[in-house]
Amino acid sequence: MSAAVSAPEGQLARVWQRFRRHRLALAGAFVVALLMASALFASVFAPQDPTLLDTSLRFVPPFTDWRYPLGTDELGRDTLSRLLHGGQVSLTVGLVAMVTTVLTGALIGIAAGYLGGIADTLLMRFVDTMLCFPQVFLLLVVAAFVPPTLLSISLVIGLTSWMEVSRIVRAEILHLKEQDFVAAARALGASRTRIMVRELLPNAAAPILVAATLKVASAVLMESYISYLGYGVQPPLASWGNMLTNAQGYFDTVPWLAILPGAAITLTVMGFNFLGDGLRDALDPRLRMDP
């Protein structure tokens, strides 16, 4: 027994060690934590009401008025407050869309991978078919069809982007299901559901976690696209995408109105992308891509 009593958290410790070496990933984790905190406490941090109009104070430049640290927009609304509340919206949509994506993708991937045969063929043909459409096309068409609420936007984004996840999960399951621990569960009389949920799913957790992180990034990006084109989050609710649309009209004279929300989107997407990349390297050295 003595040899076996190594650190119980050996695996986790190794993952953390690999992750720590990835400086961009650490930066990503920091940014993500910061964004989460600022979104969570948006109403506490926001100096003003984000919907408060004050037409006497339009286009205040950033860093000139302590009441409006990042200036005001064309209707005199405080930019910092709008950015903070827009972040709340973006992150909510990003997370809900990610959960939808991961649940759908993992479910279909596990079913296809473990059941095999006809179920696998049909499900994977469906995935192939969905992948023939450019995601933005699908997204915009469906987004134009349903009334835009935060939930509907998140669901639409989630339901048009699960295909990669299902492929990743299926590949993982195909590899796992040949392992003897699955045969052992079958020999004990375990049901298919139990094998899929209890035996296979936890073993596919690492690639699912990585995909989930990267999916938050792409969902935030997609939300800002469709909001920018007018089919996403509707005013007066602030979102980084629709802030950009508004700012475009005053682009040549007050560029900061466009620069700030765009920078916020970029920062968020980068944060999640770097975090996801670092997680992939740390959790699964096989998938490593960068030095």
Partner: protein, 317 residues
């Protein structure tokens, strides 16, 4: 090889059927049905809508409608626009050259740049260049295309006044190649950014993988110069995943083109899509969905055939 091509063609058929089912289904999911423009318009009488419904064949059972619509797609009759009654396929095809020009130029720039960066990074692994390139690619992949486009317009068109901010020609200069090229620079740059990043990442890992193979060591051992080793031995083997990437990236390219075209007012298919969406021109929207999906299927087919042409093993599967 002929057998392989025939097999892949056969496999494309269920895909096409699936794509048409989804396209058709979406059209009928639209609020107010496919005739939303009319039904949501209060000035149009109920009996007029009924008449239009019969003209469009919407009074028939759903499967009859599908078969009619699908045969139309196959025979080139893609329906007519609500506004103007023009054939949908014509409307799409007249926007095709502009999109192809933009996608083609962006793809050429991106592949050339991405491949060079990737190969150099693989050859000089962990050099300063490699670390900068891979980090840069990671940054570029996180850049929202539309914001990058807006920033590019602000810097190059508004501040520096070097390049036009949008459109395809100056007014009255239609057909002037120089004018076209000046207009092409910014959209190409914006669309190429993300593709360059993807290509540099993929080509780097493809070449890294190939360069550790035994035949590369053999080539080196028999005294082949590095340039020869790279071109004759590494390239054909690394090309395979990259050609596959080309096929997989097509839908993504259309998505990117849509965003880029909207920002730069480029009169291509992406612009048409957004306009059709704003005007509830469902026949055009569905035509575009089908068109891009068929385009993607054909693109993937060609990529597969190209891979099989390079690698005899693929044919035998």
């Amino acid at each position: 090889m002929i057998g392989f091509v025939a097999r892949r063609l056969l496999q494309a058929i269920p895909l096409l059927i699936g794509v048409s089912l989804i396209g058709f289904g979406l059209m009928h999911l639209a609020p107010g049905g496919p005739l939303a423009v009319y039904t949501l318009n209060p000035t149009i009488q109920a009996q007029d809508i009924e008449r239009i419904r019969i003209i469009f064949g919407l009074d028939q059972p759903i499967h009859v409608q599908y078969v009619k619509w699908a045969t139309g797609i196959v025979s080139g009759n893609w329906g007519y626009t609500f506004f103007g009654g023009r054939p949908v396929l014509d409307v799409i095809l007249e926007r095709l050259p502009a999109t192809m020009l933009l996608m083609g130029s962006a793809l050429s720039v991106a592949i050339l740049l991405g491949l060079s960066i990737g190969i150099l990074g693989a050859v000089r692994r962990y050099s300063v260049f490699d670390v900068l390139a891979t980090t840069g690619a990671l940054f570029a992949l996180s850049f929202p295309t539309f914001w990058f486009g807006l920033m590019a317009i602000y810097v190059f068109a508004i501040q520096l006044r070097w390049l036009p901010s949008g459109g395809m020609w100056e007014l009255g200069e239609e057909g002037n190649i120089l004018s076209l090229l000046r207009h092409l620079v910014l959209p190409t740059m914006v669309l190429a950014l993300v593709i360059t990043a993807t290509w540099s990442r993929y080509s780097r890992s493809a070449f890294l993988e190939v360069m550790h193979q035994d035949y590369m060591r053999t080539a080196r051992a028999k005294g082949l110069p590095p340039r020869q080793r790279l071109l004759r031995h590494a390239f054909p083997n690394a090309a395979k995943p990259l050609i596959a990437l080309l096929g997989v990236e097509l839908p993504f390219l259309f998505s990117g083109a849509l965003v880029t075209e909207t920002i730069f007012g480029w009169p291509g298919m992406g612009r048409l899509f957004v306009d059709a969406l704003n005007m509830k021109e469902y026949p055009v929207l569905m035509g575009m969905m089908m068109f891009t999906a068929i385009f993607v299927i054909i693109g993937n087919l060609l990529a597969d055939i190209a891979i099989a042409a390079i690698d005899p093993r693929v044919r035998l599967q």
